[in-house]
């Protein structure tokens, strides 16, 4: 990687980290006053080139622009409607757990949870005492990607390209093996259950961003592989 490329990559990684953090927060708990204040003062990208991302941002922004009255309560009610539901048949909400979407009987705490738990532990991470949900919750999976991003940024800033590449590879693998293996199904459910455009938009935004991110990681890692093989050939010729 050239110096210019590194600067560009660090900026992009910071952007990815912030987006993962933003999405993780929106899935983790209901919108509170602090987050709401941040949201209404934010500027949302309008033309990212990804139709799902653009539409997601537009829906969220559109909802916040039209909302009046007790917005926080309305969003809290819709959070419950979207992610918790009122039925017990496993088909009453967009349940934010990988296990639900990857087990035949739509149960929580299944194999997927065990798999991600192993990965978290391998990365030296343990859940906080305050977290009472399963580890395969979408918010935690997104936060895991955020942490890997942070580590990749730190590695790049220290000049450790190999570590950065390994971390990017881990991110892509986690994205392919987990997030992208089930989130699109949850995204489809997120178009059915919420009543507000806020959570419908969040569903689309996350779907588009994850697909975008895989394309980005594929591109970066294939560039690195090409560079590495080129270097190898030059060394052989020399």
């Amino acid at each position: 990687m050239s110096h210019d490329q590194e600067i560009g990559l660090v900026d992009v990684l910071r952007g990815r980290r912030a987006t993962y953090q933003f999405l993780s927060r929106l899935f983790r708990t209901e919108v509170d006053q602090e987050l709401y204040d941040t949201l209404v003062s934010m500027r949302f990208p309008a033309n990212t080139g990804n139709p799902l991302v653009d539409e997601g941002y537009r829906m969220i922004c559109g909802y916040l622009s039209q909302a009046s009255g007790d917005v926080l309560t309305e969003l809290a009610v819709d959070y419950v409607r979207a992610f918790i539901g009122s039925g017990n048949d496993g088909f009453s909400a967009a349940y934010p757990y990988e296990s639900v979407y990857t087990s035949p009987k739509r149960l929580m705490m299944q194999d997927a949870r065990d798999e991600v738990l192993v990965l978290y532990r391998a990365a030296g991470l343990a859940k906080q005492e305050s977290w009472k949900e399963g580890e395969d919750h979408i918010a935690l999976e997104l936060e895991f990607e955020q942490i890997l991003c942070e580590r990749a940024i730190a590695a790049l800033e220290e000049g450790d390209e190999d570590a950065c590449r390994a971390l990017l590879l881990s991110q892509r693998n986690f994205l392919e093996d987990h997030l992208l293996a089930w989130y699109p199904m949850m995204a489809a459910d997120l178009q059915k259950f919420p009543r507000t455009d806020f959570y419908k938009g969040l569903g689309k935004l996350t779907d588009g961003f994850l697909r975008n991110d895989r394309e980005f990681l594929d591109a970066v890692l294939s560039e690195d592989e090409a560079d590495a093989s080129e270097d190898g050939e030059k060394a052989e010729v020399a």
Binding site: G49, S65, Q66, F209
Partner: protein, 321 residues
């Protein structure tokens, strides 16, 4: 005698033989699972039940019986268009201690959803912008934190949907358009149906023998500052009319409260509606407590009342008041 009478032992049975069991029918058969989930079509949201505004309003009122007059007051306050802030402030003033989990703003939103109120937007609503909107607009236009963007290419601005403010490659949240709330015809009809003297009178004369009790409760709550629960209980619970069948003050208070004749304002207080019923002369012809307690004076009571009265109301009156 043979050891086995009813059964024949199959000596040819080979437990290791292939029994041609269908593996697919076993409950514990293992199979690799691959998304999409076969039953994904079950993940559907049931279609909403279509109800008319009048039905929705009745459902809302029935769901919050203790708050129905607060809800109806909110509708009445919006007979002329008001902004959300104005309507909420007026409702807070009218019901300072509502003992409800729903704030005034939420009440107005519930009524809008039920069809008792409607939002007016556009020129009519803009003619009187709500206070606080300017501040929010300034805030939205002031310091803004850009949403960090994933790796993406930004192109030229695209037409944004209503309510968003395009800023080239970005959109930002703009204040909601000024709107006002106005009572709908269905909402006004609900007020007419629930807030009227006839409803109170009808409830009171269901059992005419209790007219003196109702009168007593209304008079006590008509005092300045209202009447505490304990005092009402003391005035009613010991009355011979309440001896058989045993009635307590809550029985009468509940009927008056549910029809809007009295309301709780830190003490029990008569409403304007209750005051007009009290002044209407309804109780002028009512038997006194002593008369009502006498079975021989039950000519005006309904037959069922009379029957219940004849059974046991013969004790001498001992009005507490």
């Amino acid at each position: 005698m043979r050891d086995v009478e009813a059964f024949v032992i199959d000596d040819d049975f080979d437990p290791l033989a292939d029994l041609d069991l269908d593996e697919g029918e076993r409950d514990d058969a293992e199979a690799d699972y691959l998304p999409p989930i076969p039953d994904a079509d079950k993940s559907v949201v049931p279609p909403p039940v279509e109800l008319s505004p009048a039905e929705r309003i009745e459902k809302l009122l029935a769901g919050m019986p203790g708050q129905q007059f607060r809800l109806l007051r909110a509708v009445g306050l919006c007979a002329e268009p008001r902004t959300l802030e104005e309507a909420a402030a007026a409702l807070d003033e009218a019901h300072p201690s509502p003992t409800s989990v729903y704030s005034s703003v939420q009440v107005i939103q519930l009524l809008e959803r039920a069809g008792a109120l409607e939002r007016l937007e556009g020129e009519e609503a803009e003619s009187a912008p709500a206070e606080g909107e300017d501040a929010r607009a300034t805030e939205a236009m002031g310091e803004s934190a850009d949403a960090d963007v994933a790796p993406s290419a930004a192109g030229d601005g695209e037409a944004s949907t209503e309510g968003e403010e395009p800023e080239g490659d970005f959109i930002s949240v703009t204040p909601a358009p000024p709107c006002r709330y106005q009572a709908t015809q269905a909402g006004l009809d609900a007020i007419a149906a629930h807030v009227n003297e006839d409803r109170i009178v009808q409830k009171i004369v269901e059992e005419k023998r209790y007219l003196p009790i109702f009168q007593r409760v209304l008079e006590m709550t008509a005092r300045e500052g209202g009447c505490p629960t304990k005092e009402l209980d003391a005035a009613v619970d010991g009355d011979p009319l309440c001896a058989e069948p045993r009635r307590f003050c809550g029985f009468f208070r509940g009927k008056l409260e549910e029809t809007g004749a009295i309301e709780w304002r830190d003490t029990w207080t008569i409403t304007d509606l209750g005051r007009s019923v009290l002044a209407s002369g309804l109780f002028d012809a009512a038997p006194s407590a002593e008369d009502a307690a006498d079975p021989s004076s039950l000519g005006a009571a309904t037959s069922s009342d009379a029957a219940s009265a004849v059974e046991g109301v013969a004790a001498p009156s001992s009005s507490v008041r």
